[in-house]
Amino acid sequence: MSENSGTAVLDPPVTEPQAAPVRRKRKRHKHNLAGYGFLAPWLIGLFAFTLIPMVYSLYLSLTKFNLLTAPQWIGVENYTRLFSDERYLQSIKVTLLYVVTSVPLKLAAALLVAVALNRGLKALGFYRATFYLPSLLGASVAVSVMWRQIFSRDGLVNQFLGLFGIQGADWIGDPRYAMWTLVLLSGWQFGTPMLIFLAGLKQLPQDLYEAAAIDGAGRFTVFFKITLPLLSPMVFFNLVLETINAFQTFTPAYVISNGLGGPIDSTLLYTLYLYLKGFGSMQMGYASAMAWVLFAVIGLFTAVYFWSARRWVNYAD
């Protein structure tokens, strides 16, 4: 609407070509002032809540610190201790298992449902909203409480299995299964990547599909040879985002294990252990070292993704 009125004003008569640089320079100076003026709140926050805390955290990770007394310098001892801490190694094992199972499960569910939805259904809006809701609420304590009850010994899942004469396990209380309830809870929240896939599917060029149909390609061939490669930038985006999120999962593990990571540390996700060390036993130097290792691990995963992207992510333009 307003674009037209705007262009009329914009198109400046191209006179006095020499005057332009001078004006630009003066304008630039003015923008500097305004730019940093508008940027100031963010810049102050960047230093106060991100950069300074990060440097402080790096320092704390080299100290013994319990909040009440001054930090005591101990060099890299926190880092070396990490690798002889059985519970720490267990938390790494649990977290890696969680990341490499929950992320593919979530993305596969998201992709499958997105493809099924992308057929011009009448109820698309309803389906989209309903599938999205769990990812919006998933991080809440209430949903974790619900999940805990559903998978309890006489919960909904076991009642359902009972219909088929199957005696279900104590999913939450058994260290062999507790972790998988967390993975399933994450899979239940496929809504966000689904929406992103759906948006990507809508933009795929139709002529390729018509050509494939003329060639008589089957549905699976079309999916794996056309849809998936074209969608790979979205897969990449979701993969990076969901991996970072999975590494940071805290609430469901805390609620389902009563804040302990049990049974026998089988749900001791990294962030939960960090919380227990930092705020449970006030070993804040140690917890800071843990935070830096996590930071490095997430950085490593992201770097590998970006490095591998050249091989499998298809950037059309």
Partner: protein
């Protein structure tokens, strides 16, 4: 050919229906169970209560010794303050990034994107130590003040993308009329930014209301507890008894966010689909 297409439609529908039931059933069960008498909660898969009772809500509301009214009021206070702070600070920063040309702009923009990738654990401990020194523990300040200073770069990015879509001619027209940057921001950009501001409002509200770890760390008094902390206290206390009350209070803590979702779902779903949100 038409039959095949028809058939594939049918199969897609069947798949979607199964997924739909799996998605919804737990939530329907939760709501139904919260209205069942204690002894019937685990006796049947039927989500609908045979005997309808409010007893769980009555007993659950004060079961921790502090009323859920207090928890909900605290959650609303924290969430609404965070929303206002976040919308105000992020829109200002976004205007600078999207419209103003200043030294090192590209550098700061890259830094801003970088902070989006930063795991919050990296700053959790030092922030706590700093807020402890400021005597802010057990107040809402550590939860809200960072958002006054555009702490969540994600929303800056969202708004930058949106502002870039607003025709520059509008700013320039206003500038020719003698408007300064402040006037352009308030009278040109902000009104047109409304859709992005609404998305920010909705998401910030829901995320803050459901946030747990930060509130768990900073709030220690029941009088300051938010709804997730109150519910968690209930779980700690209940373990074994009073499932009904626990489920009822779970429903109570979900109501505000679900209500916001239902009111805004169309805009929200569109926003997520086009901007790609965590």
């Amino acid at each position: 050919m038409p039959t095949e297409k028809h058939q594939s439609h049918w199969r897609a529908h069947a798949l979607l229906l199964v997924v739909l039931v799996a998605m919804i059933y737990p939530m329907v069960w939760l709501v139904g169970a919260s209205f069942k008498p204690e002894n019937q909660i685990f006796s049947t898969m039927n989500p609908l209560p045979l005997v309808f009772t409010f007893a769980n809500y009555v007993s659950g509301w004060t079961a921790t010794g502090t009323s859920f009214t207090v928890y909900l009021a605290n959650s609303m206070t924290v969430s609404i303050c965070t929303v206002i702070a976040n919308v105000a600070s992020c829109s200002v920063a976004a205007y600078a990034f999207a419209r103003l040309d200043f030294a090192f702009r590209r550098f700061w923009f890259a830094v801003m994107l970088g902070t989006m990738m930063l795991p919050f654990q990296a700053t959790l401990i030092p922030q706590y130590a700093i807020f402890y020194q400021l005597n802010w523990i057990n107040t809402f300040l550590p939860l809200v003040v960072p958002y006054l200073l555009a702490y969540d770069a994600f929303f800056i990015f969202l708004m930058v993308q949106f502002i870039r879509g607003i025709p520059r001619e509008l700013d320039e027209a206003a500038a020719l009329d003698g408007a300064g940057h402040v006037r352009v921001f308030f009278s040109v950009i902000l009104p047109l930014l409304r859709p992005a501001l609404l998305t920010t409002t909705i998401l910030t509200f829901i995320w803050t209301f459901n946030d747990f770890l930060r509130q768990l760390v900073y709030l220690s008094d029941h009088s300051r507890y938010t709804a997730p902390l109150g519910l968690n206290a209930f779980v700690d206390r209940a373990s074994g008894s009073s499932y009904g009350g626990m489920l009822a209070m779970s429903v109570v803590t979900l109501v505000p966010t679900v209500a916001v979702f239902l009111i805004s779902q169309r805009r929200l779903v569109e926003g997520v689909a086009t901007t790609g949100i965590k």
